[in-house]
Homo-oligomer: 365 residues x 4
């Protein structure tokens, strides 16, 4: 991407029929905004993407935006490179000898602003997650490896509007609302995956009890959406194709070993930097990270949470992005901040989509 | 460090006689400012440090500041933790069976503002480097692994003052002057180490020809110094003690393999994250890094150089700091930006001070 | 505007036929980005605006963008409110007893990247300015009060591309190129208005001799345009309507008296805050401002130029915006930074479009 | 001030005996940090100031810091110039024909971290305010025009420490704690001045009911203090000298008329920019301001509260500083953000110390 409105790479693929517009079921990407409330690069990209698809699908852009999740994380701090991944599914009658990457999506009803960041919000996310798992044709929740949710949040104007109506707003600032919405989303995924029961989710757990987390949940929050958009990624024998997905929680922001471990899960070498044909097998790296809220990493003070100049999420994306890009040898890494309840406190998660190991490779590619 | 003025850890060591104030020959550290022209955390720390040493050495703080280099890099972006390393040397008659870490320092004359960032500036740095090598008792320049230089730069006020005097300022902004001063410093180190001849250094090479670089030079530039302060680190048979130093250039900002290589040079395991007794052997990690000025890393666009909100040096310190901290398993890493001519273009260098491998360890610690 | 992609207010006016899309000749506005190289709010707004007009004019958006100048300044620091002004002209046979606001536009050929920020660039701007004056039907350059130019600049990628081709880039960074492009634009306006001859414009004057300036020039620079887009505003007897325009240079960033003076030129009261019917007469306030590059305002040091955290242009827009909004009593003020050669050094200019004084008012409204 | 550690101007005054160190009772100033939790320019300045006074008063710096309030607001956004005002009082037997500026100070006991930002905190501030009024020799609270309080806040580390002890922290982030501490301080001043009763102050009012405010309270909050430091400024017949003080609330961030009004209270001309001898009468301008939390100023949206790149307080200081500096014609203005409950919601207050009008002036200077 040359800029956040640049969809020319996909346009070329559509033009050359390398990609069929009808096969596109979701888009996940990173744009070069600040990742905060006033990041309009996400809206800009969605606008351009949907206008492009409108031309190819002869369906209004605003309708498309309501059925194709387009989940963008703003912020390409440090070495990170703006990019997007287009998830496609096509019909196939190929015989399947191993589970392959499976994709499912779902949209919830619009979220009531007064409920954003509450357990009711979590319940609606859980329902959408179950719907997306079903859409993916994944039989067991154990085969789900990554659940991306895009969920709405409050702006300061919406908070003021709620207060004016006599409703206690569920957050005291836009930033606070984004965090609470992500917390509710993560707990919703945990419920959707059967890790927790909805009855377990209390409002005061959200941003309160960080022992409760889901290491397969990746939540973004933004002012530009009105309902919960869900993308589920897992492995299923009902799908064929060369791709598989794996994931691992990251224990903290410098947990290099988890990165090696997830690569090992995929049969990729887990030492030094991945190179050559092994690197080419990697198609998409998805990471969530979070500045440790206790103010220290392995006992040493960090300064991310007390910085008035750079937002904590911008700090952590840059640091974890540098680490993961160093191992992968590629800077097109999806690293999203705001990992509240998404992996261990102060840590997060990593998921990788890669081509399956093949005999050809073993034979010496 | 609890804050940039916090020298309590050293105060306690001096109080308990664990450290003799007379043995202190240099201090290298990272403070939590922004690392730019308006970063006053460096001056604050120096002020407090020198006041502390004044009490112990009965020598005025401003005199101490002119003989003990105190080289601070502002900016603890991402996971980086504010910290400082105190370099001490004590007399010893111990038999030496292997070269040990050697330390030397030097101060140049004050730098003429009109010459900051020119080849004349480089020449004065070169002379100070030679003086510091001699002070370290290092016989061969090949045994030098790291040369830290702190060098003055122009503020916008000083630039205006030069212009008012009819002198063409050697830089058009404070940021530009910092960069030029670092370039001159790096070329000065190259000359001091015999890698280049002073006649080779032309003004237009500085920030012009990035093929010319020195992968043992680490240059900081700041408004708070008036002359070039130099610290040379290397290995020498004239020194004894458990420590040694090694270094490697980094080819780019995600060059994980160079980090493994420098650890390998020190007999440390070079795969996954260092842990346990091996991690304890590491005493100091020194890194220089730089956003690739061609706008891409391994062919993928990065956004560091066109960001109006976050300074490019803040971006790169956060990313490379995350990578190195991940390998070392510790966030007390000295990562300094502004690596112009200090290592390959878009890359930089890494130097590590560690305890020498001992038989005890091999025996199964 | 609720966000940078929000053109709903104009959409409603077009829908209700309050505005005829064919009458729109230019748009000037402020969006809430950072105003720098990586401000994509300007591109986003233009994209949405042109898509809207495409629907109403049945002409492709990209063609519209090449004939309707849409000049946006990013950055609504402090109290400034995102907004845009749509300049329309309609045919009329009304008798004219006084000069009225006249509007003219012009587009130059695409600017050769190798010439951006040079005297050749200035010459092409001058030609476009003369063309726009002619388009406005303004007979004397003395009746021109404001010339807005949007002009291209280099990104770091384009700079690298030029260097790779063996061409010396006319700037060493994207920010530097933006500044040089604005300087060339301002001198181009001076030439177009006959204040200077093109032979007077030397490359070394640009960002070199700030005694040369044009207090009717307002220049924006951005990566999103390829040629010079010009809007000329003045007064002409060939036009009718209730509006007139006036302007004044601002001597420095706190030159309150110039604001009062331009209001006085328009028959508005020039003391305390404008209120009631007088405020309603004001339709558009256009300001250029600049952090004094000598580092002080009236002898007192300012910190805008040495700040690594906040861009100098963001600082100055916030401060001057606060001052002008305080006098006008409205925060919808166009304040653009980067006023190199646009008004006195360290100052800038202010232009105001207002309804002409009428007898009704004098009679006691 | 050349930088935040620069106390040379006061050093020169002390050296020349123009100021007697024993007369110094408080210092109020602006330093060029970011004004946030990680602004160390305040601590740096205090450190240097107290070291200077230690030399002159032969009293340890840390003891001096506990009896001379040194209240600094970080952040010189826009045109603001770093500066400090030294408040001195000397014995005099001069006959007094009019009330003159009176100064009083007080220090509370250290504040329990668990109570920061609660009504108990407000109560301790109120007691210190009463003590400072008494110290100032002001008989009626009506003669108090400005009460500056410096009060502690929690860092993220302190918040985590409280939580670890099982105490519910009174704030969920450092920034939140700073805001709550300022709210408690403002309500404490209101109680100290008899505007409210302590029984009226409930915890949920703080940052909850902005209809409750004190337009004579100016509160700063910072990690570098442990107790409440209070400076009271008013007029009293017990004092003599040429200076007087006046104040006005500001209704919003563009309330130009209040600035004119406070100048009028002091017999200064209240139109256009103050100049010449009248400007010389002004000695100190103290302003508190706040981004309107409802997201709009006079009905127009502002973007300060949703900006991830620039802190809202930095935005508002720049804007209001530009406005006040424009009226005063001087950029040495104390503008402090964080005006919660200090003046009307979205507004704040202005206080000015000036020389009393004299007949000489009236005779036509």
């Amino acid at each position: 991407m040359a800029h956040p409105g640049d969809v020319s790479a996909l346009a070329a693929l559509l033009e050359s029929h390398a990609v069929d517009a009808r096969s596109i079921c979701a888009v996940i990407g990173k744009t070069e905004g600040n990742g905060g409330v006033n990041d309009f690069t996400r809206g800009y990209f969605v606008d351009r993407l949907m206008t492009l698809l409108e031309h190819h699908l002869n369906e209004p852009a605003d309708m498309l935006a309501q059925r194709i999740p387009c989940i963008l994380s703003g912020g390409t701090e440090g070495v990170l490179s703006p990019h997007y991944t287009v998830l496609c599914r096509t019909a196939s009658s190929a015989a399947t000898d191993a589970p392959a990457l499976a994709i499912g999506t779902a949209f919830s009803e619009p979220t009531d602003p007064a409920l954003i960041g509450t357990s009711a919000h979590a319940a609606s996310v859980a329902e959408a997650v179950r719907s997306a798992i079903s859409d993916a044709g994944i039989d067991s929740v154990d085969d789900v490896h990554f659940v991306q949710v895009k969920t709405p949040c409050l702006t300061s104007a919406r908070i003021a509007a709620l207060a004016a109506l006599g409703t206690a707003p569920p957050a005291n600032s836009a930033g606070h609302s984004m965090a609470r919405a992500r917390a509710a989303g993560a707990m919703g995924v945990a419920v959707g995956l059967g890790e927790l029961a909805i009855a377990d989710i209390r409002d005061d757990m959200l941003l309160g009890d960080f022992g409760a987390y889901c290491s397969r949940a990746s939540i973004s929050s933004g002012v530009e959406v009105a309902c919960n958009e869900v993308v589920v990624l897992g492995n299923s024998r009902r799908w064929s194709g060369p791709l598989v997905i794996a994931h691992r929680p990251m224990q903290d922001a410098i947990d290099l070993n988890s990165i090696h471990d997830v690569l090992g899960d995929l049969g990729l070498p887990a030492m030094r930097q991945i190179a050559g044909p092994e690197r080419n097998r990697i198609r998409c790296v998805l990471v969530k990270a979070e500045p440790d809220r206790r103010g220290a990493i392995r006992g040493q003070r960090h300064t991310m949470l007390n910085d008035t100049d750079i937002d904590p999420q911008r700090h952590i994306r840059g640091a974890v992005g540098g680490l993961v890009a160093g191992v992968i040898g590629d800077t097109r890494i999806f690293v999203s901040g705001g990992a509240e309840h998404q992996g261990p406190d102060g840590g997060g998660l990593i998921a990788v989509i890669a081509e399956r190991e093949t005999r050809t490779e073993l034979a010496g590619e």
